[in-house]
Amino acid sequence: MLLIDKLSYQSKLRYINASEKLVYAVLTLVLCILSRSVKVAVLVFTVNGILIVGKGGIPLFRYIKLLTIPLAFLAAGTAAIMINISKMPLDAFAFSVGEWYITGSRNGLYQGWKLCATALAAVTCLYFLSLNTVMTDILGACRKLRLPSLLIELMLLIYRFIFVLFETASSIMISQQSRLGNRDFKTRVRSFGALGTSLFILSLKRSNALYDAMESRCYDGRIQVLSREQPVRVGEVVMIVLYEAVLIAVWFCL
């Protein structure tokens, strides 16, 4: 259903303190986009790859497949940045089309290349977080950041409901398919419409049932829960600090 979610529960790094992982991912992410340095990007990309596949135990081919998700955007977006249409040819390449040129500059190509490297490295930071940390732990860490409790409570409920509704949606889809509801475009549109409608009705019903169940457990307007926290390990914190320092050094010195 949601592959990343499934993998996060199997990761060998799952039981490392969530705040540590969150801080690591976000700091590294910020350094990547601040520096826009290819060297930093390569280092981050490599280290995260090792952490995710080597330490986390996420299968390599799955990780590679996941990395292709943003490629479409990357390709289209970067093409738009590198390729210009202008009456004046630029210095890297130029094709003439009538009075116009499809053209690009050396600087543009270089900027594009840097952007690709940075963006891919940034994606690996996101993956480090999402493939090794389960969502409820991330929410637990957010709770400590003093985000508004209404927001956290909503996220807690939404995360759970996503799977409940997903299950319903996929059952309905299967039942539609087994009654030939995907035979042509028209039936597919009809099927999807019916799916959306009944999913909405069901979610209204479910929200009522769930509220009753929560009330019968003395719900009094605040969702309080205990999570099982993993302790912060000093060694790991030191490693994170050192690593970020190395990244800064690479950014400024190399």
């Binding site: 479409a72 289209a76 210009n84 390449f93 999807f192």
Partner: protein, 234 residues
């Protein structure tokens, strides 16, 4: 131009075309790390007033009736699920709804801004659509600008007594188109063209994403109409 470069360029264009046509339906989520730091912060700040307004409106709804809590959460989950289901498309490629128009019509633009940012966070973490640093920009285009336009058009059509189906279609379609325009402008602002500046760059981004986004907007419009009609018959 040397021959080698030409071949390289051709190969690149084919590569781009392949991706632009095939699965690029989530292309309107700006990917992680794609915006310069300044823009990430700036778009976050732009979103803040809308988010605060939305948050206060949600909090009042929950205060008014606590039962709204699970209802709002279920709505958020509904938007997430509906926007991650494969939708029928003519080309046979795999696309998804944005749920912008449907959400705005069903839940109103204020709720959708907060639900939208939550959905975007989940999409980033669980699906790798969009990202954390680009959350501000994506929230503005998909959870604020798009729904506002959708809602506005929907209300306008209602008050002008436009045919309901047409009104819903227009609202969803324009919501999508507007989201796509805003995203293109966001990208253009960050990456102005060397020849022609922001305007030229915006045209380029609009052009690159048009082949996937325009048909998608039409389909999203149709599906929103079908769902809304279904809900009315209940």
């Amino acid at each position: 131009m040397p021959k080698k470069q030409k071949i390289l360029l051709r190969a690149y264009i084919v590569f781009v075309a392949m991706f632009a046509i095939a699965p690029a339906s989530n292309a309107m989520h700006i990917m992680e790390g794609y915006l310069p730091a300044g823009y990430c912060v700036a778009w976050g700040v732009v979103c803040l007033p809308f988010l605060i307004a939305g948050f206060i409106s949600l909090r009042n709804k929950v205060k008014e009736n606590r039962r709204n809590m699970t209802l709002i959460a279920m709505s958020g989950a509904f938007i997430f699920v509906i926007s991650s289901l494969k939708i029928p498309s003519v080309t046979g490629s795999c696309s998804h709804m944005t749920g912008t128009g449907l959400g705005a019509i069903l839940f109103g633009p204020a709720s959708v801004s907060v639900l939208g940012i939550i959905v975007l966070i989940f999409q980033a973490v669980l699906l790798a659509h969009g990202g954390l640093t680009t959350l501000g920009a994506n929230t503005f285009s998909m959870a604020i600008a798009g729904p506002l336009i959708s809602f506005g058009i929907y209300k306008l059509c209602c008050s002008m007594k436009v045919n309901r189906r047409a009104g819903v279609f227009l609202a969803a379609f324009m919501g999508d188109v507007f989201t796509y325009c805003v995203t293109s402008i966001q990208l253009a602002l960050a990456y102005p063209s060397e020849a022609g500046g922001v305007a030229a760059s915006a045209v380029k981004f609009l052009g690159v994403f048009a082949p996937t986004q325009l048909p998608l907007a039409v389909i999203e419009g149709i599906l929103t109409v079908v769902i809304m009609i279904g809900l009315e018959t209940y």
